[in-house]
Subunit: 204 residues, 2 copies
């Protein structure tokens, strides 16, 4: 037993691992999953292909981690926006708007996280991601249903539907400008959680 890595060596190793994750993220952010070959990741991190495999058992595991970190970041941003002291409706609106604006800023990343075809193993992370988004909305919805500020509804279904609606609108190419699109989307989401008025229900 003539060798046992010191803290310093382990730190260096961790730094390499980190560079690999960052390089992978950068590739996804700029060109999506398709462009992100292991060779490209290695080049971006300044290491040899084989080195990637000294830190991750497979490409799928590497990108699962990248997805995990990136999507957690997004969910956190939305959750933070929704932590504001406001009514349930207003908080939902804030969440939707944050979700939308961030996605429109980094379209490629949003597409990669929300919709791009990926390995099954990575797809699993995506489901976790979408569920996490839904959960953020669901907890506010539950609160609103309980305190009566929202009409009775299944908060889980509503939350999942919201995530789907937002994702689809953001993923689909649109003509209208960003401001209008976000405004329409927020209005859609607010309508969908609040009571439909009898006036319109019977007006037709």
């Amino acid at each position: 037993m003539a060798y046992r890595p010191t803290a310093r060596t382990e730190a260096r190793r961790a730094e390499v691992r980190d560079r690999i994750v960052r390089a992978a993220f950068e590739l996804i952010r700029r060109g999506g999953y398709r462009e992100a070959s292991v060779a490209a990741v290695a080049a971006g991190a300044g290491v040899a292909t084989g080195t990637v495999y000294r830190h991750f058992p497979s490409k799928a595991e590497l990108f699962a981690e990248v997805f995990r970190v990136a999507s957690q970041h997004e969910v956190d941003a939305v959750a933070e926006a929704m932590a504001a002291p406001a009514s349930v409706s207003d908080r939902i609106a804030l969440g939707v708007e944050t979700f939308a604006r961030r996605a429109l800023r980094g379209r490629r990343l949003a597409w990669a996280l929300l919709a791009e075809p990926v390995d099954p193993a990575v797809e699993e992370e995506r489901l976790v991601f979408r569920r996490a988004y839904a959960e953020v909305f669901a907890s506010s919805l539950r609160e609103g249903v309980l305190d009566g500020s929202l009409p009775p509804q299944d908060p889980d279904v509503t939350a999942v539907a919201l995530v789907g609606a937002i994702g689809e609108v953001l993923t689909q190419p649109h003509s209208s400008d960003e401001q209008a699109l976000v405004a329409s989307l927020v209005r859609f989401c607010l309508r969908s959680i609040t009571e439909e008025s009898d006036v319109h229900r019977h007006a037709a």
Copy 2:
């Protein structure tokens, strides 16, 4: 010029082509796109691998056609349900319910059409498919906005959001039983197209 296929021969050829398409569809319906290798399609159709390429220039083109036919079928079903003589809201509800029930019946097919990772060329058909769904909803929504039975809104955004919401709810695994799920989903969609009531908007 000693050979020019007769009608009979062309019919036989068309029949082979048809068998290939059916086999491809059957594979997708049962195991999704992943399971549907060209070899498996050929086997299912009772022909050799190479024969597939005498009828389609590539796997992507074959499956693009399969997607086209299958999804048109779904869209038609929804459009037909919405042709009933009823109010805009009721028709939307019918459309959503039809969409949902059919998808829950053939979950694998629904997943393949709505969400499964596929070739870019096939993905294009999927976009067409989703747009077609959205358009079916959009035309009713436009009508409702014009005649005042629905509040002012961007019908295209609403329609796309509806498709996203429905797709996500159906794609995501759920605990509740089918009846309850569909009911919740229909309610969500109806709320999302009708006016939010002032009562709840200001109640919090």
